[in-house]
Point group: C2
Chain length 130, copies 2
DNA sequence: ATAAGGCCTCCAGTCACTGGAAGGTCAAGA
DNA sequence: TCTTGACCTTCCAGTGACTGGAGGCCTTAT
């Protein structure tokens, strides 16, 4: 299977797949003409990667998960540990963003938003204190 | 004021301040010895930038906000528009992360996490369907 | 035979810094 | 006065995870 079909199957851009090969996440064979030839296993792994990335796992985490995925004797505790670590990070990000959102929502409501120059948003960012 | 004092005042690393100068967000004077000399206005602007960045505004947005901040005849509607745009982006990110969190929380709970190899987390990422 | 489209590699750019090397400057202590 | 150490400077390179584009080969259809 050529790269654009593999891309359609896995739901990833061809460029991304080439990049994944470059960093060693997939190792497709090559046809005599130099074209990448993706096997079913390659497609499966690419699909796995697409889903893991969609869940926000980093490339390094994906590398570890993929190795576990291919290791049929793995301990599920390993996987759970990675997932839990990632989950904590996601929750930190949600907390950060939620704090930003609350502050900004407050400021946006406080700003009348007309053609006058006085603006609580700018004041809060430039004022003497936070 | 030298760069490390400016950094302490604004709450930014010196490296970041040099970068901000490089991209034209601040333009401190120079002492005869070549050291950057930060005025009160510079410090004020750096503090403004630190706060805006802490609220997640991009550098481009900060550039616009800073210009409005210095424009005493600005219309607050302009500021509000930028803030609202950013707020929408934050809410999109929160929604994405929340979806990830829900999926992952579910998977983490479903995985027994011992030394056996079967694992719903990997299965969900590698299975035939999502 | 030719034209369109797919494939290849390699290089550069993104965003917002961050680290490090090599070297100039300054203030305090011996 | 000399030295030491902490500053400061510039410049270059790297981060993560791609993405865009140039230049060129290969395949397929007309």
């Amino acid at each position: 299977m050529n790269i654009s079909d593999a891309a359609a199957q896995a739901g990833l851009p061809p460029k991304t797949i080439r990049y994944y090969e470059e960093i060693g996440l997939v190792t497709p064979d090559r046809d005599p003409n130099g074209y990448r030839a993706f096997s079913d296993v390659d497609i499966h792994n690419l699909t796995f990667l697409a889903r893991a990335r969609a869940l926000g796992f980093s490339i390094q985490e994906c590398r570890a998960l993929l190795a576990l995925y291919e290791d049929k004797g793995r301990a599920s505790a390993e996987v759970k540990k990675i997932a839990k670590g990632h989950l904590e990070e996601i929750e930190r990000k949600i907390a950060d963003l939620t704090a930003m959102r609350d502050t900004l929502t407050h400021l946006v409501h406080a700003c009348h938003g007309d053609d006058r120059p006085d603006c609580p948003i700018l004041e809060s960012m430039g004022g003497r204190e936070s």
